[in-house]
Structure formats: structure tokens, C-alpha cells
Amino acid sequence: MKLTINDRPFETDRDITILEACESIGIEIPTLCHDPRLIPFTSCFICVVEVEGAKGSVPACATKVREGMVVRTSTENINDTRRLCMELLLSDHAGDCIAPCRFNCPAGIDIQSYVAQVANRDFKSAIKTIKDRNPLPLVCGRVCPKPCEDACRRGLMEGPVAIDNIKRFVSDEDLKEPFIPDVKPATGKRVAIVGAGPAGLSCAYYLKIEGYDVEIFEKSDRPGGMLLWGIPEYRLPKSLLAKEIEIITSLGVKIHFNKTLGKDFTLKDLKAKYDAVFLAIGAQKSTAMRVKNEDAKGVFGGIDFLYTVAKGSKVDVGNSVVVVGGGNTAIDAARTAVRLGAGKVTIVYRRTRDEMPAENIEIEEAAHEGAIFNFLRAPTEILTRNGKVTGIKCQVMGLGEADSSGRRRPVPIEGEFETIEADTIIAAIGQYVDPSGLETPVDGTNAVTLTKYNTISANVDERTFKTNIEGIFAGGDAVTGPSIAISAIAHGRYGAASIHSWLSGQPVVKDFRSAFNFSLGQKLSDVDKNYIPQASHQEREKSGSLPIKERLDNFNEVDFTYSEEQAVSEAKRCLSCGCLDADECKLRLYAERFKINVNRIRGSIRKQNIDNSSGYLVFDSTKCIKCGKCIRVCSDLKAIGALGFAGRGFETDMLPSMEKRLVETSCVECGSCESVCPSGAIIDKSLVLEKIAQFQTKVKPSICKECSIGCEILTVLYEDKIIRIIPKNRGTLDESMLCKTGRYESLSNIKQSQAFDFSTYERMQLYDASIKDIKEAISSSEVIINWGVDIFNNYAPVSFHLKRHLDKNHDAAQSTYFYFKTDFNIFGFNNYPINRVKAQSETIMDKGLLKVMESGKRVLIFLEETSLSKTELEYFMGIKAKGNIKILNLVRRRNF
């Protein structure tokens, strides 16, 4: 047969499908419902191709090749069809590929994983997971405004998981015996970083790990930047911050203190001396209110005020303090003022409580500590006497239309003013980047370009963080304007990655966020509660804090870290939203490949129906794409029939039989359905670990030792622990379909050291058999074992009456999965041919085989060349060791 595939001639004499033909010449056809061992089902229609002359597109998985056929596998029309097909499939899908907490974290920390690790009491792994993306967790555990928790699906129940408190616990734990990352061999390249704040430190940490020689230039005398100067002691004790930074410097990061850009060194100098430069100079200047008398005595900028206090300088705030602003800095200033002995602290904000950007908990704490809020007031003038502040005059405001941030715009109410008395006024209304030192040309006549907001212009979108000048990168507040610590830390990490790529000539590694990710909703308010994972009620753990009266005259840390029990219990609240199948999911793979826009087609989604009844498997109908593979494997190949179709049309379901719970069906929990499921609709439960997440795992091939069949398996290793066993060639139904014992039950026994190691295996001596050999062997043997499909089907008559038994017990499963057939009849053992299905539920065969081997009888094993590779069994070695066993290897078939 001659045909053309993608304009290439193709010739075959076999009766194969277009898909098989394409595969044989390396053209991959995407498919979700096809499995080579099953009769084509043609349900997904992703595999469509164009065949000249055919009406419409043709499913490649089921269409046989024909003489003269002209096939095209990837035309625009075909790709459009596949794209629409994927969009339709995903329009009936629910779930989150990546957990929303991770998605919402600027640094993309794998939160689900470390929370799971804490739930498993594996704190060492948890800190490793965190530090993979954030070298300052102790800091973040205290100061982060927690965008992760805003997205937490549990927020739709009793309240979000206290992710930040868990992290704080883990990092406090870590201080006892800090995790030191492996540092790669030195590259010999040098990178200079300007600024030892969160961005600079983070960049230094990750560059150091990659083997760079990193030096930081810091204008003050201590590291930490805004973390040190801008965050009051009672929130982040300076001693703790120092300890965490010490871990970074201990890797070999050098910090030059009291070096100011533009004064003590220039960018040009750095560029000349170093291979790359990272600018992380922050945004440290307080924004002025631009009202009359702002230069009066007793008026401070918010950050200047905090800096002065942090420096340890004595500040007399007087009795009454007015703080202007609604952000965290305003709250920090107010709470600091309380601690400095102010009798009355008033926070003046031009909008209302609802619009305040400060964290809720901070606002509440400030109120508890006695701060008074005066909303809808905008300062117009500072009142002074003798150049010293006496009060502040404010315009009374009302709320108008929503502005670009979605918050309602404050509008002045004409003629209404209020005057507030004050000894000190702190203007915490914003900060900006001080660009001094950047204006001098670096590269010939070029200086670093700034944006119209006076921030450094660097490519954040594509995560290169490159400035206009080759080799100079920038990140953190200096680029974004004042932002949160984790954002700066993220910039440091991504900046480091970009610098590494640039210096090593690699393209920038894409973030997981740029890949296809299905989401139940980016905003919690968009999420349909019906589709979040189910969990029983459990309130959020409360962390303790200092009683109010113990706070007011000191700067002791206010909030306490969780106890271990609290942290673990809180971690268990995690709903594990991120799909455990995300890395294996073919839906996601194709969605990414065909660049799917999931928002184009939206519609009703089937009801969530989760069957959790099995101890090993979870069924989630909302992730099912109706490919029917699970049902077909269960019925057609395994002859179990525990799963079936129900209903039709949009409401078609693929369910445990009769809509029963899985455990109530004939299910033998072999996991074959899980192996073939292309999406996360059927997944394994975590058997070894309490909680599992999208952990970094490794896969190692081995052989199952639970019975004599010796299926080839893959052990999934996490931290050198086998956490899962899956069949070899997962996803295509390999011959090695495992059983409950091998796949799940054995997990409790198996240890890594016990897993079969191919490298130590030595192939034993085999005899090529002739008719004479066989006759002789039979006559001199007491036990004959027929091993393998062909042996059983073709030679069984020679070795007594196996065929007879076969006929009697013939069924669909047997004809497909005869691996090991034996007849113990002669010796009084179980005598019927045991097919694999039965072998899985009962291990009669193994017991029988063991009995034979231990009997000391003369054993003959028939084995064929083709099944040899599948039967490299430990039992064979055992047999050999007994010395009473002869193995005949039948090289050619039909010799008799």
C-alpha cells in the first residue's frame, strides 16, 4: 500500500491506522482517548487529520490507511479543529492546575508542597521548598501581606489556611539548624549588586547557588534595607532578620557597607569590574504632602520616622500624633508612636476603612493599641506656632465614582474643614525612588533609563529584568515603586535567573505562570464554591500575641509563632487544590500546545461528584473528559467491569458501576484505570505520606516482587522514599498492568534498598531447546511450568493438559493476559490455569510456586525468548539457587 503523509511517501503492507502509520515515521498525533491495546473509541477527536477527498476531518486513531490516501496531519484547519475541541473539553472542566496560593504569590513559592510537607512533619523539606524561591521566609512569615491567603480556596469555608503562620513556624524551626543549599562550582564570573534589601539579598542568594562570585554594595551600615529600616522591631525583630541574612552571607556573599552609589562608586565602575550588575536600590524617599508648613518642626515623612526610630535615635513625639495615610507604613508609624509614649495617635485618611491598602490585621491591631481613625479627611495645611507643629487642617471628603484601582475616589465636600491638634505629624502617604547616582552615563553617553514615575525601567513582563544597558539588571522597589517584600524577593530571584541565563548564553527560563493553567477563578469571588475540593469543618488555628498592655511601652514582638502542633494541624487544613496530575495531564499538555483560550467558551459544568470510597483511588467526575479508557480497560482487558457509562449527551458519566460507590462494586483496586486516565479524574491516594502535593519526584525502574509474575514497575521517589508505584509505560496500557498488591499494598513494605536493581542482575544460563531436549526434560522432571503467553498457547499440549483447562475457563481476559501459566495438578497443587486477573486477587499461584520450589522436586520451566525480557525475576534466581531446576529456552516457535 502506498500513500502520502504530509507530502512524504509512505509504504506499508500492514492493516494499520493512520495514527499508527504516523507514529512509525515519527509524526506525533495528539490523542486523549486512544490506547493501542483497546479497540478505537473515537471520542476525543483531537486526533483528527485531513484526508483528501474525505468528508470532514477524519479521526486518525480509527481510520485505516488505504491505497493512495493523501493525509495531512497539521494543517491550519486541523489545528483549529483541535483547538476548538480542547476548548470544548475544558469548558466542562473544573479545578486548579496550579494551586491558587502559589499562583498568587509574587515569588511563585510552591506553597501547596511546603504546607503538605509541614502536614507530614517534614520541616526540613518544607524549608527547602520555600527557600527554592524565597531566601527570607522568616521575614516573610512576619511581614508578608499574604496574597497567597487572599486566593486560598479554604477562604470560601472557615477562612484561608494560615499559610504565612505555617511558613513562620518552619523558618523559626530552621534557625535551629539552618538549611544551607548546595552551591554549584564557581563559574569564575562576578556580579555586583547595589542594595542589600530584600531584592538584592535574594538575587545574591540565588546567584551564589549558581556559582557566581557576588558582592553587594550597601549605603548603610547594616543589611536588610527596608526590612530593617522600614519595619518596626515589634513586627520583625532585628536580631532575627540578622540571623536569616547571615545564612545568605555564610554562603560567601560579600557585602560592602557604607558605599553609596554615585558617591562612593559609579555604575560605570561596576560595569567595568563585574560581569553583570543588579540594581536593587529600593524606593526610600518619603512622598511629601505638598501642604503649607510641611517643613515645620515635628513633621516627619513616614519612612524617615521609622528609620530614625530603627536607628535607635531618641524621638520625642509629644502627646498627640497625627499620622497621614492608609498604608502599612502609616500603621507602622502609628503603632510605633504609641510605643514611644504618645497619648493620642490619630490616623487621618482621605478615604474610608474599606479603601485602606494596609493589611486588615494591622489596622485592627493599631485600633486595639489605641490608635484613632479619622476617615475622609485630606490635609490642607499644617498649623504651626513658632515653626513648631500645633495641628493639622483637613478638608472633609466624600466618596465619588470608582477610580482605576476600583476604589471610590474621594471628593472634597466644599467648605467643610476640620482641625486636629498635634505635636507630631507623620506623613506616610508614599515613597519614591531616589535616582541619584543613576543619571551619570554608563555606556558611552547612555545612562540607565527611568520611567515617568522615576523608577528604573527594566523588563519585568518577560522576567529578564534587563535595563537599557547591556549587563545591567534591576529589580525590587526601584523598578516597581514601593511594594511588598515578597515582590522584591521575587525580583531578586527572577533577576538572578535572568543574569545566569544571560551570562551562560541560555534563554530565560519561563515561569510556570506562563504555561497553560486551568483555574477555578483568579479571584476568590469568581470561584464557584461547588467545585472546590471537599473537606470537613476545621477552624483556622489562632496564633497568640502579646496582651495589649504588655505592648505599649516596648518594642517586643507582638505576634507569636505557632507551636508545632498548631502548624501541623493548620497545614492539614490545606485543600490541596493544585491538581496532583498537573504534570502528567494530557489535557493540560495539549491546552498548552494548542494555545487554548479557556475563556472563549464557557458554559455550565457538570456537578462535582467525587468518589473517595476506595482506600487507593479517587474519582473526580468534573475532571473527566469521557474518553472511556478506564471503563474499557476495566471491562475489556481486566474483565472486572467495575466501571461503566451512565446517561447520555452532556450528562454522560463514567462512573463506578450502577452509580454505586467504588468499594461497593466489583473493583479490585488494581489502579489500571488510573494508569490510563489522561486527566486528573482518577488519581492515586497518597499512601506513604499523610499529604501529597506537586512534589519534585524522581522515577526509577524496578520489578515488583509481590508475586512471581514480576511486573516491571516504576518507583516514584520523593526524598529517597518510594511514595508510589506505577506500571512501566504509564499512560499506554503496558503489559505490566499492576494489581492492588503490587501497586498499593506493597508500598507499606517496600523500601528503596529493596527495590530491584537491574545493575546487579546477571543473566542466568539458558538452554536452547530441541524436541529431544524437551522430551527428555519432561520425562525427568516432576514439575513443569509453562511461562509466557506463547508457551502456554502453543506448547501447553506438549506439557500435559493445560489446553484443556484453558478451554474450560476461557474468557476475554485470559486470551489477552496470560503470562504465567502453570499446572500444579500433577503434584496436587492448585491446578487450574490462573490468569492474571485471578492472580491479582488471590496469590494462589505464588503460594503454589513457592511450594513447588521448596519441595525440592525437579522442576522444568519452559520459557520463550520473547517473554524472557519480561520475566527477569528474582524467583528465577531463587530457583537457580536451589539447583534443582532446569530452564528450557524455546528459541523458535512451532518446532513441533
Binding site: F45, T63, S91, G603, F645, T652
Partner: protein
Amino acid sequence: MGKREIVVLMGTCGKSAGADRVYDKFTSVLKAKSITGVELKQSGCAGLCYSEVNVKTWRDGKEYIYAQITDDDVENFIDSEIIENKAYSKKILFEAAIGDDAALFPKQKRIVLRNCGKITPTSIDDYISKDGYKAITRVLKMPQELVVQEIKDSGLRGRGGAGFPTGLKWELTRKNPAPEGRYFICNADEGDPGAFMDRSVLEGDPHSVIEGMLIGAYAIGANKGYIYVRAEYPLAVKHCLKAIEDAKARGFLGKNIMDSDFSFDLKTKEGAGAFVCGEETALIASIEGKRGMPSLRPPYPAEKGVFGKSTVINNVETLANIPWIILNGGSKYSETGYEKSRGTKVFALAGKIKKGGLVEVPMGTTLREVIYDIGGGMAVPEYKFKAVQLGGPSGGCIPEKLLDLPVDYESLVKTGAIMGSGGMVIMDERSCMVDLARYFLNFTQNESCGKCTFCRLGTKRMLEILERICNGLGTMEELDLLQEIAKKCSTSSLCALGGSAPNPVLTTLKYFYDEYVEHIVNKKCPAKYCKKLLTYTISDKCVGCTACARKCPVKAISGEKKGRHIIDQQKCIKCGVCVATCKFDAIDTE
């Protein structure tokens, strides 16, 4: 014609119009009046469904069809017809010379319906008296190839919808080696809403279908067969079973038919309610006792059909033609027709038409002739013709401007509609085309087997878009998406159900695009059908009976007793309850 006959036409349609009662009344009146020598007979539907109950008599060389006979008519009818020997003039629908079908059914040509309404379907003798089983007798003496050739000569094409040449299908099947025998299936799973030709034929003339099957089975060498009939047609099932039993008793079915070597074992299989089972591969799955999920063709049934064996599947109407073709010759059959469509086609006329029912016309007759000349035009003449829906959920809507198209497979496909099995639903201005598309999509979505993506999800998403449009929530972007999904669904579905499901959408978009736009942009339904797009107001016809106010589920109507009421448009949820409630036609919709 010495003996007088009174024939009551008792198809499902006749019965539901009261034919049973009329028949019983005849029996009792004849008895009461001690009239003998009059044979009271039952027959099937003559296709005059709009005028049920029909009664037929013969007198003085003339045939009379009476319309709308009720049990109140019976006494006078007998007095007039039998005692006074005069026509019961009040209710004559047609009178013509006996056997002059052309006069009774102008513009029609009755081949398939030749016996419907004429013979008693439960009487094999009646069938035999109309040359029944003569064709199979003749065929059994013919070489099989010649039988196939005869059908090929006739130009007969499958009447189930797709129009595949029947003779060729038989020939291809014969060419497949079939050491284990073949099957011959009659597809009587007439699931298209709006079509009832097959029901009428099976009810009114079951033997012609059986004879057609016998001929086909002989020609292809099949000796097992099934009539796969919808369970929703209890009378058809009953008549089929009776016919099979009688045919067996007479030696037309079973072993060594009429002492030949040919044996044919025929059974009925009742469908269990799945439209998709009209599709060949799904029908096969259903016969085998499985879910009716289609599978990819090839392999075609000719190669691998029922139980994996070579199979021919023909529909009822196709088969009813066969004995006629054998008796009159293929060339005679092919004299009638238009281009590649030969013979006649039966249509089921329904909807807003005056004379709904069954009509059989020569291929090539125009749609206008069918609708106006035969169907009598619009049921309510004030409302203008808007569209004719052909071919049910797989077909499409044809607008006024295309009514002069001839009935022909190829011509109809060009419009985006299809010949289909023959359902013809006529719609007037009061029908909303968007709603109609929504209706069909709802149907196909419910009937989709759920196997392949485009049909399972594509139809669902199209339906949702159409629902939004009907509710005034649609957007023009969605209209583009609707077209996109529709096009892909038609090229990338496993079977004909999914492949043709978008036709109602595509044709209404093609011919009534403005109506969609009107729904979306101006939030108006020109047909005033889509409730959510209507504004309800109370006119001065209101007498203040308060009925609507009491029924209104959201209490949007207020007013004094005996005073004109008003509807609070803010509260109104446009449920239409007030319109249904008002006895004074006082609620206007806009």
C-alpha cells in the same frame, strides 16, 4: 360491487381523533338497525390527517372519502349511505371514480402509500388481493443479480435521509464474503420529530415492508432479519407482529419460503427511546443489546454489521417501494423523478399548514406545490408563510424565496437543509427562527449519545448560546462563536447525528441572520415568541377582572377592580402567565 363496505381509517392519528369511538358506534348502530350485508372494515391512514376521522365507502362506481366523522354522525351516515343509498353529503371530502387515485390525490403519485387507507392492515388476504407477495413469488425464480439489477435500474435511493442508491448498497453487500450469513434490517426507528411516514406505512401496510425485506434478503443472501421499530409506535409494532405471524403461517416467512431454498427468519426489535439509533452503527449496537453509541465507518455494515456480520439496513419507505418496482419494473419506476432522484417521496406535512398529513409526490415536485397545491397553504391565512423545516433535527429551514426548488436530494442539500426522512414542518410569522434552532439543538443535545467531543459539548455550548440569545443575553461575539462551533461540529463528529446537528443553526443563520441580530442588538423577537424579549402591557380591553393580577407570580400587576390594570415593567419577569390568563385579549405584547 354488490356488498357494501364502510371503512374507518384507524391509524394512530385516526384513533387519536376518535376513530375507535366512531367504529364502535358503527358496529352498534348497524346492529341496532339490524342491517346486514354491510361490511364494516378498518384500514390505515390515508394521509388525510387534517380531516380525521375519515370514513370511506364505495357506491355506484364511485369512491367517497368522508371527513371529520364523529360518533354523532354515524346514525345519519348509515341512514343516508346504506338505507337511502345517498352520499352523506354534509361531510364529503373527496369523491372520485374507484381506483382513480389521481383524482383523489391531485399532484400526488402513490407508490409507497398505494395500499394505505385501502386495505385492512391486519389482513394478509387484503394485502394479497392487492397483488401482495406476488413480487417475492416472481423474485424467487430470478437470479439474485437480476433482482439487484432491477433495483439499480429503478434508481431508487435510500429514503432514510442520506439517499444512498439502494441497488448499489445491495450489490456492495453481496460482494463481501459472508460465510456466516448476512442480516437484512428494516430501519423503522423514525425518530425525527415531525416525521411519521414510516409509522403510517407500518400501521397501514406492514406486509409491503415485509415483502420488500424478503426481496432484499433474497437478493443479498441474508436469512436473518430484524425490523427495528420505535417503541413509541405501539400500533405499528402490533401490526408488524401480526403481519409476521400471518406471513409465517402462509409460508412467506420462515424456512424454505414457498418451497424454494430461500429461508428468512424475521423478528422485530423494539427501540427503547434513542434518536441516535436511527444511525446505522448505533442501530446495530442497539440490536446487539448495547448502548446505542455509533462507531466509525468504515467498516460499513455491508462489511461488518449486526454481530459482526455483513448487513444491509434499509428504511421503511425504501422497502415499501421494492415490491412495486419488481412488479412494474425498474425502468417504469425510474420514469418518475427528477435528475438523480427517481420515483416518489413521501412527506409528512405538519405545522401551520391547512391540510396536514401524508403526501407522496413525484421527485421534482416543487416545495411550493407541496405546500400550497397539496397542503392547501397556511392554516391561518392572515399569518404569512415564513419557512419550511425539512428533515428534522438534521435538516434545515428553507425560506419563501427558495420554495420553487424541486424535491431532489441534490437541490435540497445545496440549501443547507436535507431531504431527510421527509418531515416537513411549515411555519408562519409567529415562529421564531432563533427559537427553532434552539429547539432542535435542545433535541440533539438530549439525544446525543455523549461519545464524541463536538457533539456532546459542541451542541451543549451552541444550545447555551441560543438560549442566551432567546433570553436577550446574547452578544455578537457569541454569534460568531456559534457559527464556528457549528461548522466544526458538522465536520468533526463521529456520526451523522453530530454531523448534521448544526444544520438547523446554520440554515437559520443563513436565511434569517437579521432575526438573530434583532434578538442580540435590539433585544427584540420579531415573531413575538421569545417571552423574555417581550414587553407586556394592558390595553383598554381590560375590564378589571383582576384575574391576571391574582395569577402574576411576582405581583407586578396592579389596578382597581373593574378598572384597567397596569403592569409594573420593573417587576415583570416576562413569564407570560397574564397573557394565558386574560380572557379578554387585553394584554399586548411588543
